[in-house]
Each structure stands twice: as structure tokens, then as C-alpha cells.
């Protein structure tokens, strides 16, 4: 039973780390700000879920489980909110999405 718990939480931790790393790669490799926000925000959420639940399985019942769940819920609420607010600010500040940039190119080409 304990071995099974170890294996499950090991899998959760490793997949969580995998998503974290892929998000980090995405933040550097993707071409446009909004795609980068998307990479960071989505992988952040899934990494938090996986890693924290991996740790929960290793914790004896008690206040530490409550703290871990508090961290989980808090990050699940605030992290996408922060990304959303940031993307909204960027939009407000005049950054364009990729499709708009392409359309802009075509419009520039069209009058020729």
C-alpha cells in the first residue's frame, strides 16, 4: 500500500516537473507575447496541481495537508488571474496577437 502511494506520488511529481520544464521552454521559444503567457499560465496550473497532489500523498493526515491544499487552491485561483490581468494589460497597452499581425501584413500588402 505504501509502495503504491510512493509510486503514484512519484509519477505525479515527475509529470508535474515535466510540465513545468515544458512551460519554461515555451516561455523562451514561442514567438509572440500572448503565446508565451499561454505557455506559462497553463503549465503553471497543471504543474501546481500535479506536484502538490504528489506531496499530499506523502503527508500524514493533519494540518500539513490543510496547508498544502490551501497552497493548491490559492495558486489555482491567483495564478490564472494574474496571467489574465497581465494579458489584459498587454492588450490595453497595444500588443497585437499573431493573427492580427498577419492580417496587418496583408492589409499593408493589399493597397499595393
Amino acid at each position: 500500500m505504501l509502495l503504491l502511494l510512493d509510486i503514484i506520488s512519484g509519477i505525479l511529481l515527475v509529470t508535474g516537473v515535466f510540465f513545468g520544464l515544458s512551460g519554461a521552454v515555451g516561455v523562451f521559444k514561442l514567438p509572440n507575447f500572448f503565446t508565451r503567457v499561454h505557455a506559462a499560465s497553463v503549465t503553471d496550473s497543471i504543474a501546481v496541481i500535479l506536484i502538490v497532489s504528489g506531496l499530499v500523498l506523502q503527508t500524514p493526515l493533519g494540518i500539513n495537508i490543510a496547508k498544502l491544499l490551501f497552497i493548491l487552491v490559492f495558486l489555482l485561483i491567483t495564478s490564472p488571474t494574474a496571467s489574465h490581468a497581465l494579458a489584459k494589460s498587454a492588450r490595453h497597452g497595444g500588443l497585437l496577437t499573431m493573427s492580427e499581425l498577419e492580417k496587418g501584413d496583408q492589409e499593408e500588402k493589399a493597397p499595393k
Binding site: 520544464l21 503553471d44 495558486l75
Partner: protein
């Protein structure tokens, strides 16, 4: 389990380093904020895992503080960003 925690720690440190690099060299100011925010959330996870690695689960209190402060800092950056004219 300890070896696994150690591996997870190192991997999260790597993610933190990449987020830090994004915050150092950002094409737009929003990318910089993104890097800082990502660094913060990964730090929360890092503290939690380090607590388990060292057998000190009371580190979780500090992880909670990090999560709070990270969000408040983010809101403050967005708020005061309205007042200052963008440079780039």
C-alpha cells in the same frame, strides 16, 4: 523518495533559472512581468518540495507567504504600471 525529491528540486531550480533569464532579457516589459510571476509560483513549489526533502514540513508556512506576496506584488506592478509611461 528522498532521491526523487532531490531530482524534483533540481528540475524546479532549472525552471526558476529559465524564468529568471526571461526576466533578465525580455523583449517587452510584459514579458519581464511574466518571467517574475513564473519565478514566484515556481518558488512556492520549490519551498514545498525542499521542506519534504529536508523533512521540515513547517516550511509550508513560508510557501504560503510566498504565494500571497507574489500575487500582491503582481497586482501592484499592474496598478502602478498605469501611471508610468512605457519606455519600450
Amino acid at each position: 523518495m528522498t532521491a526523487l525529491y532531490a531530482v524534483v528540486c533540481i528540475a524546479i531550480l532549472l525552471v526558476m533559472a529559465i524564468a529568471l533569464a526571461r526576466a533578465f532579457y525580455a523583449p517587452t516589459v510584459y514579458d519581464r512581468i511574466l518571467g517574475v510571476n513564473m519565478f514566484g509560483t515556481k518558488t512556492v513549489l520549490f519551498i514545498a518540495v525542499v521542506g519534504y526533502l529536508m523533512g521540515r514540513p513547517d516550511f509550508l508556512d513560508i510557501a504560503i507567504v510566498y504565494a500571497l506576496i507574489n500575487f500582491i506584488g503582481m497586482v501592484a506592478v499592474l496598478r502602478f504600471f498605469e501611471y508610468t509611461a512605457p519606455v519600450d
